[in-house]
């Protein structure tokens, strides 16, 4: 038995037999061709290159394949259109009588040799791209990519170096148990998709590939972030039991898809989804979510070297909004730390980015970028179900500025004669203590409030939740947090406005009762957690919990509160 640590992408346990997917598993036969075959080999080359260029163009437009950013795909496309590339491959075929596969392999291996010796690290990095392009082209030519999964058994766990988002979907559709990648991060597109599908997955399991062979039994423990290779009998028994239990739970949860989220005492709760990338809409629809309560738009902006255009954004917003109908889509304008955007916006280094230029502040300092996003949203709202929400609001002043900008955008759109719809609810994220305290004024200035619990906890308690050494201080049920939520809800309700919670607290079943008792109207959770939270709602009696509210609000410690809920 051997254990290897990784980062867990989604919770849950999977047990299966190892199937290693090697990126370089393409078996290229070292064969020479006859002179009479040259012509057909070259036309095969052109046909395949055209196909892959076409595929890339589609990916660039559809944003469906983009762990790498659009720029990278664009540069891949340019490589395939490169006149020298075409020339050299043609020569490798017609003069040296190489098969197409060998020619391509040779070309890219030469390029990798040249570039890996370069001192400019930006260029030395390009060898990864060459590998990707070569792989994409070769795997298409050899038509192997779809075969990879064709003979893979359902009871497998895939181990690979890295994975593309489209491949994750295929793995899920084939009902394969789970997967581990040696590289990758929790927040990559592939990981987000795996999470929303509840597909057990670990990333960053360094050394795993060297420690397994096909057919080994392996356990993915998504709760602990562990891969256990060739487990002992007792370990296997333990995990079998866990896995069986999880399967049963999941099976029962799936029965709740068409059940309305109504509490025991008869209150219907609006249960919506948070999404980060457009592809997650599939899960949203599958789980019958009441729309999208938070569409984080950061993913359109990060990991790329230019800005998404207004049209590009419009297409995406419109597409998701239409799929959401008749439910609402709440779009949150860009909310990241400046550090993530430094390559496309002029942002200077900050000593303390969490208290720096992020959220609405970035938008207000980069008005042209902000306006592009607003216009794209206004245009997409011709289907009428979009709401817009602003992150990191700290006072009403920001809302006034934002409203003026929306007005300007509307006027500009009128002048250009482009269709749009400015009849749109406007919401503020409540995640800074100053916004909590002034939530009465903020509520007056907008149509709804949405509490981002992650940042609210971080800013209220002055705790960075990624800082391991102080993780004990990160307490979602700290009395200050609970009272902040209460203040916000009360202030909004006084003037008939609704409050949603879209932070992680809403996705944790242990807090659901508490949030509902505090008066929260709507919950928005990641699609993978939707049914779990629905089950909790169905089992919850708000009135019963409300009876304890006074006691709850007078608790002095988080421990006391946890005991009560």
């Amino acid at each position: 038995m051997k254990k290897i640590k990784g980062n867990s992408v989604s919770s849950g346990v999977a047990i299966g037999r190892v199937k290693i997917i090697q990126k370089h598993e393409l078996h290229i036969e070292h064969k020479k061709i006859y002179r009479r075959e040259v012509e057909s080999e070259i036309s095969r080359f052109k046909k395949n290159v055209d196909y892959v260029i076409n595929e890339l163009s589609k990916l660039i437009q559809d944003y469906t394949y983009s762990q790498e950013n659009r720029d990278i795909l664009e540069s891949h496309k340019l490589i395939l259109q490169d006149p020298d590339f075409i020339d050299k491959i043609s020569k490798l075929i017609s003069e040296d009588l190489n098969s197409l596969e060998i020619a391509i392999n040779k070309y890219f291996n030469d390029a990798i040799d040249i570039f890996s010796g370069m001192s400019n690290k930006y260029l030395a990095h390009k060898i990864n791209d060459f590998e990707d392009v070569a792989y994409r082209l070769l795997s298409h030519i050899m038509d192997e990519r779809k075969d990879i999964l064709e003979d893979v058994d359902e009871n497998s766990i895939l181990i690979m170096e890295n994975i593309s988002p489209s491949f994750v979907t295929k793995v899920f559709e084939k009902q394969i148990q789970g997967l581990c990648t040696e590289r990758g991060s929790r927040n990559s597109h592939s990981s987000i998709i795996a999470r929303s599908m509840n597909l057990p997955m670990l990333v960053n399991t360094l050394g795993l590939l060297n420690n397994v062979k096909d057919g080994d039994i392996v356990i993915i423990d998504g709760n602990e972030g562990l891969a256990i290779i060739s487990p002992t009998k007792s370990t296997l028994g333990k995990y079998n039991a866990i896995s069986k239990k999880e399967h049963n739970i999941q099976k029962n949860l799936l029965k709740l898809i068409d059940v309305e989220p109504i509490t025991k005492d008869g209150k219907k709760i609006k249960l919506m989804s948070n999404i980060e990338i457009p592809q997650e809409i599939e899960q949203v629809l599958k789980f019958n979510s009441a729309g999208i309560g938070l569409f984080r738009t950061e993913f359109l902006f990060i990991d790329r070297e230019d800005l998404p255009t207004e049209d590009e954004q419009y297409e995406i917003y419109k597409d998701i909004a239409e799929q959401c109908l008749p439910n609402a889509l709440v779009i949150r304008t860009i909310d990241v730390g400046g550090d993530k955007l430094s390559n496309i916006l002029n942002i200077t280094h900050e000593e303390n980015p969490n208290l720096g230029c992020r959220g609405i502040r970035i938008s207000l300092q980069n008005i042209p970028v902000f306006k592009q996003q607003i216009k794209a949203i206004l245009r997409a709202n011709t289907c009428g179900n979009i709401k817009i929400m602003f992150p990191m609001i700290s006072s009403v002043e920001e809302l006034s500025k934002v409203k003026k900008i929306i007005k300007d955008c509307s006027n500009e759109l009128i002048n250009t004669g482009i269709a749009f719809n400015a009849d749109m609810e406007l919401g503020a994220m409540i995640e800074i203590p100053s916004a909590v305290i002034t939530s009465d004024s903020i509520a007056e200035e907008c149509d709804f409030l949405s509490i981002g619990t992650n940042d609210l906890i971080q800013y209220t308690l002055a705790v960075d939740r990624d800082n391991q050494s102080i993780s004990d201080y990160y307490k979602p049920t700290h009395p200050s947090v609970i009272r902040s939520i209460k203040i916000t809800v009360d202030n909004a309700h006084k003037i008939g406005k609704k409050v949603a919670v879209c932070g992680e607290m809403a996705s944790e079943k242990k807090y659901v009762k508490l949030l509902l008792a505090l008066g929260v109207d709507e919950l928005s959770v990641s699609p993978g957690r939707l049914l779990l939270i629905k089950k909790e709602i169905l089992e919850c009696n708000i009135e019963e919990m409300k009876a304890k509210l006074d006691e709850l609000l007078s608790c002095k410690t988080s421990k006391e509160i946890m005991k009560l809920i």
């Binding site: 720029d71 664009e74 540069s75 340019l78 490589i79 490169d82 006149p83 020298d84 590339f85 390029a111 040249i114 570039f115 370069m118 001192s119 400019n120 930006y122 260029l123 990095h125 390009k126 791209d129 070297e305 002029n346």
Partner: protein, 88 residues
């Protein structure tokens, strides 16, 4: 034919993004376009070629265009270099 010597003024040098920009721009024109660095001459419409130059900050390149729209091509490409390819 126009030949124009140009200096690389963006700090990161000729990496993938500037190379992409140059090739995309050059593709719009009809003239022949080559870039020369010391003894190396490459096709300005070849992304692999432009990247292979590995031109660092401060190094000099010669742009060579030949054809009906050579002036415009050189003008656009020169401006890209001068604008540091949009880098700080």
């Amino acid at each position: 034919m126009i030949r124009k010597t140009i200096k690389i003024v963006n700090k990161l040098g000729m990496h993938a993004r500037p190379a992409t920009m140059i090739v995309k721009a050059a593709t719009k024109y009809r003239s022949d376009f080559k870039i020369v660095k010391s003894d190396m001459e490459i096709n300005g419409r070849s992304i692999m070629g432009v990247m292979t130059l590995a031109a660092e900050f401060g190094s000099e390149l010669e742009l060579v265009a030949d054809g009906v729209d050579e002036e415009f091509l050189i003008k656009e490409i020169t401006k890209m270099f001068e604008d540091k390819f949009g880098e700080d």
